[in-house]
Amino acid sequence: MSAPEDTPVGGWRNPQLEHDPARAKVRPVLSAVGRRRWWFKLKGGGDRLWRRVRYPFTRRTVLRIRGEYNPKTLARERTVVDKRPIWWLIGLTLLAVLPPLSGNTSLLSAATIFAIYASINLVWMLIIGTAGIFSLATLAVVGASAYGAAWLSIQHGLPWWGMISTGAGLGLAFGVIVALPAIRLEGFYYALLTLGLVELCRVYVVQSKVFGSATGGLYGADTYVPEALQDSDGAVLLGYAAAFVMLLAMLGLYRLVNGQRLGRLLRTAREDEAFAEAVGIGYDRARVQVFLISSVALGAIGGFYASHFKGVSPSIFSTDQLLLMLAMIVIGGIGTAEGAVVGTLIVVLLDKLLIEWGPMRLVLIGLIMLGTVLFTRGGLFGIKSQFRAWRERRKSERRAARTEKGGEVVPEEATDIHDKQAIYYRRQDKLIRDYLRTLVTDELIEEHRRKPLGQHSEALERVLNYFRRGPVPDKYAVMAIKPFEAYRVVALAGRRGVPPRLVDDRVYPTLEEAYHAVFLRRVNDLLES
């Protein structure tokens, strides 16, 4: 039963607005700094189960799934950390199913060419991306073994399976020859040399009687398509199936070389070979090993090529073909298997769909290649990371451009702080400090100097209350050196067992003066923050 004079009269009024009416018009400025990455979340637990599923005979998990608790609802949820296996599965399934189901023979043969080129590009990606050898002689190796296998098949009746294995052997032999200068030459010298080597092969093949200079290529080699199927739709279907199996084999090879020991050795120190040598990595040795493995694979592809087309023509050595292949891996992005496959898909699609454009379609492909290399750092599959890097840079630029922070949490930091209460605490703290700063005047300080203890004006009481409830670490305190004679100002350590530190070397004769000195220090810190 309170007295009538104690009940509040009228509505609540914000004391801050009363003190500073301009505050009502101020709207907080949200800086455009972006936000955290968005992840798709699966509901429920079960991440431990996923960790148990491995590829046979390896320790690799099928899918990297991370389990966590939702910070708001505390419900169990899962994140797929690496979604690439899912995309590969969808893409390869579509590739395996769509072209045969379409029933379109020309589409099927275009898809076969795509599969062959994609296989070559995957192996080339091993040479350029993994081994870091900028070799342009890829097609030369394929063509040389295709020619060798076709010649052996025509002259000595080599069957198609013999062509593939002989092609692999020829590829190895050719690879050893091509790899010899690679040991001594550096990047660009080697690129130029291999470009010349391709032209050398072309000129030799065009002029050589043995390799069919009169007929424009070698034809009549054995093929893997059985007699019964020749010249039917079944032959095209079988061709696509064989090429697709080869593509899968080359993907496996890429994974085996790039993802296992050799690839990891080479990725250890891509920028600094001397460092790699110093820590005991046989850098050159690993590079040559990758190159030779790739040469064998290219040779096998060459043998397959010769048996698929029942022969080979000198156009495989043409510079346009080489540049087209380079366009494929550049558009996809150098250094990734998906870049090799998708780049090949794009270029082959453009090449086959726009066939009535004539040379203009190659101009278009050249323009796309030029645009890719001018504007992106890693081709199509590097765009994502390049965009993220760009956005991070913009974020930090904006963060740096913020003039005032004052202890408050900026929004982009807020996304990183797990305990959301801390954000609101700091925001409230900043509001209070901004308000208290306006209360500090000379009269207020004079009032405290006259009477450090006892009853004060409302303003001084508010300031002192804020000071009292500050955190203990680095809080100022008074230490009595000799009671009633000498006092000094110290700062508390805030940790048990750690003594307070002396702030300055002034000695105050009375407790009141020491209290006021502490007050002045705190006011100073408040005005500076």
Partner: protein, 293 residues
């Protein structure tokens, strides 16, 4: 077998290869870029000369000027497209290499689309006269003219690089690009000058080679490869090395086609180059990077 004829054709080839190789060499050392679009510059200059010959059928100077001007223009264009946007980006060397390869692809196809696949012949710039040195050595006027004009233009360019302000800037860029930029040499303007001058050299080489071969969209490929391997064997960035290598390879080409036959030319040249590069991995006049630093 090595007679006067071989020597004459060796000197002719050496002078034309020298023009191409020095262009590639200067671009590499001053801009740090391997210009794979040089073949496109070459082919485009050939078409420029052909166009000039259509407009002024009687003037040899117009044909030469048409080739040289087109070459310089295309060189500047390649610079604007491939060098200017990329030169301060990460991984510049590889990206510039790929960009010039892309220009080479699309440029060749554009020439094919515009002018068609049929080859064009240029008029004989130096007339049909012949000179007899000895009884069995006969020099045709176009060989003499090729040698003379390429030597004259090379000397002009080298003198310009030695004496003029712009030449001083280019040589500074060749010695140390960062140092040159620090003392106030504009990278972009110098790049345009370098590319225009080397394009002009390629243009002259195009007109000269088109005296014996035809102008076609793909005619730039073989000169590009020859120029590249000569520059490579001479050591990228070394003018004197490029000259020595041009003489060597010109002689090998002439001797091979006289002794063994035309189809073995590239093989013997490559054997020579691989031998040179295995002994000196940076070419005849090239320095190892550590030595340069």
């Amino acid at each position: 077998m090595i007679d006067g004829y071989v020597i004459v054709s060796a000197v002719t080839l050496a002078s034309i290869y020298g023009l191409l190789a020095i262009g590639i060499s200067i671009i590499w050392s001053s801009l740090g870029m391997l210009n794979m679009a040089f073949g496109f510059t070459f082919a485009a200059a050939g078409y420029g000369a052909w166009y000039a010959a259509q407009q002024f059928p009687d003037s040899a100077a117009a044909v030469l000027a048409g080739g040289i001007l087109t070459g310089a223009l295309v060189g500047a264009l390649v610079c604007a497209v491939a060098f200017i946007p990329l030169h301060d980006k990460p991984n510049f060397t590889v990206r510039a290499l790929i960009a010039t390869l892309a220009i080479s692809l699309l440029g060749t196809q554009a020439l094919l689309a515009v002018f068609g696949p049929r080859v064009k012949a240029l008029p004989k710039v130096f007339g049909p006269k012949t000179f007899e040195l000895t009884e069995d050595v006969v020099i045709t006027a176009d060989k003499l003219g090729s040698v003379a004009s390429s030597i004259v233009l090379l000397l002009l360019v080298l003198a310009w690089m030695k004496t003029s302000r712009r030449g001083l800037e280019i040589r500074a860029m060749m010695q140390n690009p960062e140092g040159a930029a620090l003392v106030g040499i504009g990278v972009r303007s110098t790049a345009f000058a370098v590319m225009a001058v080397t394009g002009a050299l390629a243009g002259l080489a195009a007109v000269l080679l088109s005296q014996t071969y035809f102008v076609s969209p793909y005619s730039g490929l073989l000169p590009l490869i020859k120029g590249l391997i000569v520059a490579l064997a001479g050591g990228l960035g070394s003018v004197s090395g490029a000259l020595i290598a041009a003489c060597l390879l010109g002689f090998v080409e002439a001797a091979t086609s006289a002794v063994l036959g035309g189809q073995y030319v590239l093989i013997t040249q490559f054997a020579l180059i691989i031998a040179i590069l295995l002994v000196r991995p940076r070419g005849i006049g090239g320095l190892l990077d550590e030595t340069r630093e």
